[in-house]
């Protein structure tokens, strides 16, 4: 594959990643957010595969495969299971209205493109629009974490944010060393498991969610 083809494919995947991010921000129900984050991880895996085929980097194949198995299949399944197990209200409870969050996410996209444009010649060395898309995904994931009351949707935000960092790392520097990537993936799995257990525990002992914790006073 020529460099131009790879660049345009990565650009297109970046646009689709932004679209899934918009769906995550706008999702009114937890299930939709989970499906959207699974689709996003699948796109990240495809991007990894494309970059691996283009650069011949074996590490990238491994990373793409791990992403496909862990982040596109396993973690969404765990989230899905927790939602069913907890029997929670399936509607997302935002801190500020979803329309406001959407407006903020547009602002984030525009700002990250603007910031990356100021890089000038440095940006030419980076694959297409991967850097601004990665920054936008990361920041929007943080936005989702900050504006949702329930722990589960905050986890979805964390995964989306993690996807953004992954995408940036893959496209900008053709992947971090394999050992670091695996470490990051393990961290994410661990975080997901710990959070899942905590959510279930908190739920079963005091019947409260994260938003109620700010009433705790020392």
């Amino acid at each position: 594959m020529s460099a131009d083809t790879v660049q345009s494919i990565i650009d297109d995947l970046g646009a689709l990643l932004l679209f899934t991010m918009i769906l995550i921000v706008a999702a009114g129900q937890i299930y939709r957010a989970i499906y959207a984050v699974a689709a996003q991880s699948l796109l990240i895996a495809i991007a990894g595969g494309v970059l691996a085929a283009a650069t011949g980097n074996v590490d990238l194949w491994v990373i793409a495969a791990i992403t496909l198995v862990v982040k596109a299949t396993l973690l969404p399944w765990v989230l899905h299971w927790v939602v069913q197990r907890m029997n929670v209200r399936r509607e997302i409870e935002p801190v500020i209205p979803i329309a406001g969050t959407l407006a903020l996410s547009v602002l984030i996209v525009v700002v990250s493109f603007q910031v990356s444009a100021s890089l000038g010649p440095v940006r030419q060395a980076i694959t297409g629009n991967a850097l601004p898309v990665g920054i936008a995904l990361t920041l929007t994931g943080v936005l989702v974490m900050a504006t949702r009351k329930t722990a589960l949707t905050q986890m979805v935000g964390l995964f989306a944010s993690e996807n953004g960092i992954f995408f940036t790392a893959m496209a900008v520097s053709q992947g971090m060393p394999l050992i670091i990537e695996i470490g990051v993936i393990l961290d994410v799995i661990l975080a997901a498991l710990v959070m899942t257990i905590m959510v279930l525990r908190v739920r079963s002992t005091v019947d409260a969610d994260i938003a109620d914790l700010d009433r705790l006073r020392g």
Partner: protein
């Protein structure tokens, strides 16, 4: 101004959009019926409905003013004129100065405004409610449509739809840039709203809780109602043709009768695909609560805005 589409061709395209409009509605209804395991009405049923309406006399509310009678004709005229601006059979700018996408959106907005005015004029409660709802939705739909058109117009450097379609060229899907995906996603979210279908509106019912567009037609009768229905068929057709002109304008380049037929065939295929999409969406989603509609359209707006940002920045 030297163009590729002669006056006759533009007239032919306009007539095609007008005449095939009811057929597309019939097709969508048929697909929906098949998905619900019903036989469904014949494909030509919308034509029969129109023929029946045009044979009838019209009655009019006592409270309606003289302007009320002219409204269906004006709405139909505005919609059909909008149809002249969309390239259907061939791409390329028209040979005569016609107008661009902004005029097209303006004409569609004019038709919508006249419909609402007519509903208010008759003085019925349902008409007023339908008009108020339609006017709540319209300012959310039209900016998104404009953004999508602009996001493709920025790349081509023109807002004339024929030239826009010609700029995209024949290898449309391979030449899609990142912004096109987002613009197309926004357009697909917008399509049910613009054609008055689920999840935004329900075209099949006259229940007061669900209707937007149908509520405004209640006071019309006979030929007037026929004109309004024909206008809404044509509007749907114009919107579908606009989508295919913006995103996949593949058409033959020749001038002979064979390439003309081929052009009709390809555009029919494209519109059929979009009609199947609409029928699938209508069959698999429930209608949104009215207060949820702004959020749904907000997704489309954000997508279109990001598409524009991808183009410019």
């Amino acid at each position: 101004m030297i163009g590729d589409r002669s006056f006759g061709l533009v007239c032919l395209e306009m007539a095609l959009l007008l005449l095939a409009g009811p057929l597309v509605t019939g097709t969508i209804q048929k697909i929906k019926a098949r998905l619900q395991c019903r036989t469904g009405a014949d494909l030509l049923q919308p034509y029969r409905d129109l023929a029946k309406l045009f044979r009838k006399d019209s009655v009019q509310a006592d409270t309606a003013s003289g302007f009320f009678r002219s409204i269906p004709v004006l709405v139909l005229a505005a919609t059909v004129t909008a149809g002249a601006l969309v390239p259907v059979i061939r791409v390329g700018p028209p040979a005569l100065p016609l107008g661009d996408a902004i005029l097209l959106l303006g004409l569609l907005a004019l038709a919508r405004f006249l419909t609402a005015i007519g509903a208010l004029d008759a003085g019925g409660a349902f008409g007023g409610m339908g008009a108020s709802r339609e006017m709540t939705i319209a300012p959310l739909v039209e900016p998104v449509l404009m953004m999508v058109v602009f996001s493709t117009a920025v790349a081509a450097g023109t807002t004339e739809l024929g030239a826009l379609a010609a700029h995209r060229g024949t290898e449309w899907l391979l030449a899609w840039r990142a912004a096109d995906f987002l613009g197309f996603a926004a357009m697909l979210m917008l399509l049910p709203a613009e054609t008055g279908r689920i999840p935004v509106d329900n075209p099949d019912t006259h229940l007061e809780l669900t209707m937007l567009h149908e509520g405004m037609l209640l006071e019309h009768s006979g030929p007037g109602l026929g004109c309004m229905l024909l206008a809404s068929h044509t509007r749907q057709m114009v919107t579908l043709a606009l989508v295919s002109a913006l995103f996949f304008p593949a058409g033959p380049a020749g001038t002979g009768a064979a390439s003309l037929l081929l052009g009709v065939g390809t555009s029919a295929a494209k519109i059929l695909v979009l009609a199947i999409f609409l029928a699938l969406v209508e069959s698999s989603y429930a209608k949104l609560r009215l207060f949820r509609v702004p959020q749904y359209l907000g997704i489309g707006f954000v997508c279109a805005l990001v598409a524009l940002a991808l183009r410019i920045l």
